[in-house]
Amino acid sequence: MKRVLPFVIVVALAFVPLLDRNASHISAYADTGGLVLLAFGLNIIVGYTGLLALGFAAFFAIGAYTYAFLASPQFGIHLNFWPMILVSAAVAALFGLVLGAPTLRLRGDYLAIVTLGFGEIVPQVLQNLDKWTGGPDGIAGIDQPRLFGFGFGFNPVPYYYLYMAIILVSLWLLNNLRHSRIGRSWMAIREDELAAAHMGINTTTAKLAAFSLGAAFAGVAGVLFAAKLSTVSPSGFDFNTSVMILAALVLGGMGNLPGVITGATIIGLLNFLILPQATNWVQTLGQQLHLASLAGIDLNQYRFLLYGIILVTVMLFRPEGLIPSATRRAELHAEEQSGAPAQAGA
């Protein structure tokens, strides 16, 4: 059953655009795919390596703007979409290295704040350098991908399949990576950095690898985001986006791929589909019942209240998330299991 289930899910997902003909739904599913990719990236940093990075959306922005600079009328450069996926990933990874190299030796919570500061700086710089970046309006008319003469345009269906394909490739990659030498050293660092270092793991290299690889995933997500929307602006990459990715990770289960996918899917659907839909329903209901209070309601404003509640309740009552990995659960509950003797010992 455990081996069959993923195939069943993939096949079922492949049929979704044939069954659901509503373009806005497919678009929401595709955006959810983007969130899954971002969560994969953050999972390498937070879930595997145990480093809290709070300004993750900055790497997303770097990926998106890299593509926007090199494939739009902004500078008159029009490079092909497909190789640009890798180029943007590399650029984001490079920024990950540049930020990580001096900061990764900091203690965990300091690192969180440094990345948060970086996450504030990047959108601000993109907004201020308006000569190149188009300022708050951003860059429009970004090239959209073509495959064998077929232009993707604004049709969400090909993007949906593209996200699915990239997610599948990433899953294969991450699954192998997790059990590789570097993957095991990430988890050793997460569990006890000092012990890991004493076992001969070069913690700096391993952390840098996690940082740049995580950033690379955000870079890929950025290219796809920019191409699908055909426009980018700094406001899409603020702290809120970072929080959304973190909430997806925390809800699903840090460090476990099925959990990450589940969390990102729930948050993504909530964000892109359910809340806008529910707002519509409530407003229509309000208009029919002539209730101004219902007709004027916008449930979308409350999504960050929801994410906040998710972050707090999950961390307090089920820190391993909905679908945890066995090791992570054991780590997070070590206190309770060994609680009594440890207390006596201390």
Partner: protein, 312 residues
Amino acid sequence: MAEIHQFFQQLINGIALGGMYALIALGYTMVYGIVELINFAHGDVYTLGSYFSLSILALIPLSRYTGGWQLWLIAACVIILAAFLCGIVGVLIERLAYRRLRNAPRLAPLITAIGVSLILENLMQIWKGTSEVPFPQFLPRGLGQPDNVFVIAGVGIHERALIVVVVSILAMLVLNLLVFHTKLGTAMRATAQDRDAAQLMGIDINATIAWTFFIGAALAGVAGFISGIYYGTTFFLNGYQAGLKAFTAAVLGGIGNITGAMLGGFLIGIVEAMTSQYISDQWTSVVVFSILILILVFRPSGLLGEQVPEKV
């Protein structure tokens, strides 16, 4: 001459701004010193301070009081009440969101702290809406000076800047007394140094930590009130950026160090005012956060802090 006056003008603005940052930074630094947690929700408690002040002021028929001293008295009462309410919120946050996770991996309380921050922001959004809220400018104007501006040696000082500086320095003096000359302050410093040893000496750790949160949040509440007076408006998201800048101040001064937080607050305020004068308004946050990153990279112990080795 005008150049120099401009410089001093900005210096005073920076000091006023810095007073607010310093008050917020104190809360970060005290909480960090005692439980090693970056209380991410602290910036929002600051906004909450101005929201509480607004609601309290709305209950008072201000137009009935015309005498200057009555209004000053009202202001003092509002500050104390708002600070008290913020303190309660701070204690509640610690009790509900952080205490359970005191011995969990560092990541866990930091994540709940972000969650609490989001919850507070959204509750404030529901409370007073998504746009900027005007803050009543009820204090007697000018103290007899024209245009509310005192001119000292050719440099004009706004009354509101003066109020901010005076109130923040008063609050810091009270804090200093509390931390260095009372039993509670001794307990706080002992707990920060070594929680287990302090417990063995008969200090009630939970109560001491709760008091630390109360005092930190109350100072943020004071900052919230004076920010309302200074800017004339308040906004539910103000606390996010202000909190981050105040945290920068705490780190600049050396986190865990109370004098350092005050120094850092004033320095960051001055840097921000000078940046907006000599570079551009839109670059202030970039400059401040770059300072944050640079300090953390090159001198993580800050200006006055001591190098703390990672505890094993």
